[in-house]
Amino acid sequence: MEFAELIKTPRADNVVLHRPFHPAVEGTLCLTGHHLIFSSRRQDNAEELWLLHSNIDSIDKRFVGSLGTIIIKCKDLRIIQLDIPGMEECLNIASSIEALSTLDSVTLMYPFFYRPMFEVLEDGWSSFLLEQEFELLSSVTNEWRLSCVNKDFSVCPSYPPVVIVPKCIDDEALRKVALFRHGGRFPVLSYYHKKNGMAMMRSSQPLTGTNGRRCKEDEKLINATLRSGRRGFVIDTRPLNVAQQARAKGGGFEQEVHYPQWRRIHKYIERFNILQESFIKLVEACNDQSHNMDRWLSKLEASNWLTHIKELLTAACLAAQCIDREGASVLVHGSEGTDSTLQVTSLAQIILDPRCRTIRGFEALVVREWLQAGHPFQQRCAQSAYSNSKQKWEAPVFLLFLECVWQIHRQFPCSFEFNEQFLIMLFEHAYASQFGTFLGNNENERAKLKLPQKTMSLWSWVNRPEELSRFQNPLYEANSLVIWPSVAPQSLQLWEGVFLRWNRPSKFLEEAEEERINIIKYNKELQAKVNALRRQLAEMETDEAQQEP
């Protein structure tokens, strides 16, 4: 096996593991093809740490005499330190970890080797098919159809094989529209608002160029979502000047003359590379415990992270408001339509659609609006906030989405079936996982990698009853309303569960959370008992009544 060549020293003894808020532990370190394993040999309190190499974001080494120290920074933002006696051993281990954590080939990743220890009850790869989604849609409207125009990924390489489009638009027209949209991402249905029949579509920018090219089919396609005499809104996630400049490179935006029924709103959401910088700055600020208050606040401000959160939430609320309050259809796009576009459309659905606030519904949303919609997970999540290497395509686009969901969750803690841990789990698995779900950049790549055949789906694991119970929100009670979050800065908070997770003692907070759950559980038990007793008493009463003459 090729991994053996990369592992220069498979094992080291007398290694000391340091983690914040834990006492240092001495033990043995082992390297395998995919894991770094540390186990303390203390018999009274054996501790084991398993770390996926793919979770390692960066590694630093230092030497004091012959004692080497390796500092490992993980994609889930944890930082651990290993003291390894012996300079050579330490160097070997460091370079092995480095090599193993930066494997080029996807097929060498752990999901291709992982063999689950659990019984698969439901294959997650087929849990969320667009066909099922369409069936649901068909029961309320017949204005849409399922198109297989992209079945061999030739019309749009980053789209799934099937998409939902207006019924009156045939595949031939779709092919023409695809040529008019960046990367072939023609407008498709993202969400249908049953309450008023309004639709949210998403696409990439139109390729109008400097000479104002138009495409009749494109106009017809998006007009098909409008009620007669009603207007629609195009939400462009770029500022006007950027959209205008895009024309020089062949891109552009929907011009009023050709789209008279559409009103364009530019709601700027930062590009992915800016977001990555913001992410790095925020994590840096959170990891420095020595900051005085002024420095902490100014670093938090300088990261701009919460500004991005606010902008994103505002844009999503805007889209939701257009649909629900203005009763208008919406088309959302930025440039490529694979990042900010998906953030907006998926968040708007969290606000509008109660189904997306259930566990299953949220999973379906992630599959539909992120995985199938072609968010390039592999590029975006290749590195996290500690990477030393020059960034290319990395960006916390998905993490920002999860955090926005968390912010809404904080404001409506009883309206979500899942808890914070569920969101954190998705963040972790997007960056490093034993499951194949987040590998590849789109369905096309996943099909080529044969992921459904060769790897296990995250959903196969998560949806097992044992696992689900960890992610359930005990306060949940279905809420069929649209939930409008407050976007005032005073209402937003730093997501401590992710950013301060490793930087503060969390014992008391966890215990308090447990107590909350106990109170709710106890309440359910008591209610059940009261009901049972009432029934018993009622039966006794009727028995007595019957006995009486």
Binding site: I265, K267, Q289, H291, N292, M293, D294, W296, L297, S298, E301, L306, T307, I309, K310, T314, C317, L318, Q321, R325, E326, R410, Q411, F412, P413, C414, S415, L475, N479, L481, V482, W484, P485, S486, V487, A488, P489, Q490, S491, L494, L500, N503, R504, F508, E511, A512, E515, R516, I519, I520, Y522, N523, L526, V530, L533, R534, Q536, L537, M540, E544
Partner: protein, 617 residues
């Protein structure tokens, strides 16, 4: 009584000029607004910090009222003359010249005399010192100040080391600002160490006082396990040095044996006042961006100050709990920062102060009895605006920060802290009136007014923390908060208590609280049902018709009387109501950019700063 109709109440933050129309009444004690759906907003005149009349607009004359509990209401009165009348009346009504005119002297909660007396006896400080373990072999009650002869701003009963004789006390008091000589504030039984408090010494550049030196020595000797003691000057070093020029200053380590001197750098009341002012300006801004909020928070310095206070308390508590050393705390006069640090230190050391009753005792001891100048700091009477300072608010905020870090350590909840803050400013009860005990006695507060504490205890269900675990920490084990900067948060529920649109739409806290309350009821029900079943099994022919029905909902409170006690807080809803969505209306949310997309641009917003006729209190 003044009554104006067709008054509009604007939403402070809404960009869509949403408003409620209703009638505004001025009573002798309250301003009352009843909107068209009969919802009432009561504002106590004493709560009013400032009234401002803004320039006339097309819809009428705007009137902005800022309250000490951080409520800001923005009325638009149709006719300018009415507005002017209201404005003038409010100016008069919210300014009080004499204590006897304060609400507490007219407030009648319908208690009889013995209830009133009992209410005042609820908190007994002698009992509290006994609980701590004094008097004992080292500490005794001194009668030196029995007639307020040595120090007017101290209580009559003071505890001092047994070896501190009267001449030492008298001598020491002459060497301390305002006569506030070192006395016991808290005694730690297990460590036999004490928190003592005083004011700054009148040391100037070189003066010394043998009695004062003896006094400190007596304190250090009263601790058999550690003869070193800390002297904590809670001021920044520079301020303390500047005081030397005025004949005041700080202890010279060379003159006192066995002391370790330490500055902890909490800023003075003036810095705190302007810090809060800046904080409120930022948090009150419409259409605030995240970065403006964060930089405003930083520039205000508010969280930095709160952290400084808590850091000092942690230092104090560790000296006692870890080193077993006694600590003497002072600032300048020893009634602001000293009260903050001593009380927070004790709160970290002793879990009793984390109970509802214990917290009342703590406030009575370190704040009320030791002469924190509530009247001046909270501007109860029309006085020197330079004396106003949010020192006590800061203390409550520090406690709130601790409750966030230790959700199970406190018997009380946030609502309790907010309610106390409310009444520190309401002047509805006698506890916080005046600046010191002597003044309170002269005002005969115990005969003429009521104590707040029995009222809080009577409705303590509202203030209980459902997560409280009495066994969270064994008695007298130190609570060790993490004071890394990121642990300190903006206290939204204090500064935006009345801006409902900023709050979570579903309150997890209320839900847990009600569920926990319901659990108790269900436990009762189960007992009752089981008893009935047992009874039936035993004597099946006895009919149990006399069983009382479960108590239904409490009778509705009579309307149209001022909210005597409860402030107009959203009533604790029952379970179903908790889950309803309060702000399911987009207009409640400020997606400011988009509102303007849909509706016509709103008329120019008048900014508060440029209003005419600003009245600051």
């Amino acid at each position: 009584l003044l009554q104006v109709e067709q008054v509009k109440l604007l939403d402070r933050f809404s960009t869509s000029n949403k408003s409620l129309t209703g009638t505004l009444y001025l009573t002798a004690t309250h301003l009352l607004f009843i909107d068209s759906s009969q919802r009432e907003t009561w504002i106590l005149h004493h709560h009013i910090a400032a009234v401002e009349k803004l320039p006339l607009t097309t819809s009428g004359c705007p009137l902005v009222i800022q309250c000490k509990n951080f409520r800001i209401v923005h009325f638009v009165v149709p006719r300018e003359r009415d507005c002017h009348d209201i404005y003038n009346s409010l100016l008069q009504l919210s300014r009080t010249a004499k204590y006897e005119e304060l609400y507490a002297f007219s407030y009648n909660p319908k208690q009889n005399e013995s209830e009133q007396v009992k209410g005042w006896q609820l908190i007994d400080l002698a009992e509290e010192y006994k609980r701590m373990g004094v008097p004992n072999a080292y500490w005794q009650l001194s009668d030196a100040n029995r007639d307020y002869k040595i120090c007017e701003t101290y209580p009559r009963e003071l505890y001092v080391p047994r070896t501190a004789s009267k001449p030492i006390i008298v001598g020491s008091s002459k060497f301390r600002s305002k006569g506030r000589f070192p006395v016991l504030s808290y005694y730690h039984k297990n460590k036999e160490a004490a928190i003592c408090r005083c004011s700054q010494p009148l040391s100037g550049f070189s003066a010394r006082c043998l009695e004062d030196e003896h006094m400190l020595q007596a304190i250090s000797k009263a601790n058999p396990s550690n003869r070193y003691m800390y002297v904590m000057d809670t001021r920044p070093k520079l301020n303390a040095m500047a005081n030397r020029a005025a004949g005041k200053g700080y202890e010279n380590e060379d003159n006192y044996s066995n002391i370790r001197f330490q500055f902890v750098g909490i800023e003075n009341i003036h810095v705190m006042r302007s810090s809060l002012q800046k904080l409120l300006e930022v948090s009150g801004t419409r259409g605030l961006s995240v970065n403006d909020f964060l930089s405003g928070l930083e520039n205000s310095g508010w969280l930095r100050h709160v952290k400084a206070v808590l850091d000092a308390a942690v230092f104090l508590a560790k000296a006692i709990a870890v080193e077993g050393a006694s600590v003497l705390v002072h600032c300048s006069d020893g009634w602001d920062r000293t009260s903050q640090v001593c009380s927070l230190g004790a709160l970290l050391l002793d879990s009793y102060y984390r109970t509802i009753k214990g917290f009342m005792v703590l406030i009575e001891k370190d704040w009320i009895s030791f002469g924190h100048k509530f009247s001046d700091r909270c501007c109860q009477l029309d006085g020197d605006p330079k004396e106003i300072s949010p020192v006590f608010t800061q203390f409550l905020e520090s406690v709130w920060n601790l409750t966030e870090q230790f959700p199970q350590a406190f018997e009380y909840n946030e609502a309790f802290l907010l309610q106390i803050h409310e009444h520190v400013h309401s002047c509805q009860f006698g506890n916080f009136l005046g600046n010191c005990q002597k003044e309170r006695e002269e005002l005969k507060l115990k005969e003429k007014t009521y104590s707040l504490w029995p009222f809080l205890l009577a409705e303590q269900k509202k203030y209980q923390n459902p997560l409280y675990n009495p066994d969270f920490s064994p008695e007298l084990t130190l609570l060790e908060p993490n004071t890394v900067s990121f642990n300190f948060k903006f206290w939204r529920n204090m500064y935006h208590q009345f801006d409902r649109s900023m709050h979570p739409r579903q309150s997890m806290f209320n839900l847990i609280m009600n569920t926990s309350e319901q659990n108790k009821q269900l436990e009762e029900d189960i007992k009752e049902l089981e008893a009935k079943i047992r009874q039936r099994n035993g004597q099946s022919d006895v009919v149990l018709e006399k069983e009382q029905e479960q108590t239904a909902h409490p009778a509705p409170v009579a309307l149209k009387t001022p909210p005597c006690f409860q402030k107009e807080q959203p009533p604790m809803p029952v379970n179903d109501a908790v889950r309803t969505i309060e702000g399911s209306n987009t207009a409640d949310n400020r997606y400011s950019e988009l509102v303007s997309e849909f509706s016509k641009a709103e008329p120019a917003v008048v900014s508060l700063e440029y209003g005419v006729a600003r009245m600051t209190c």
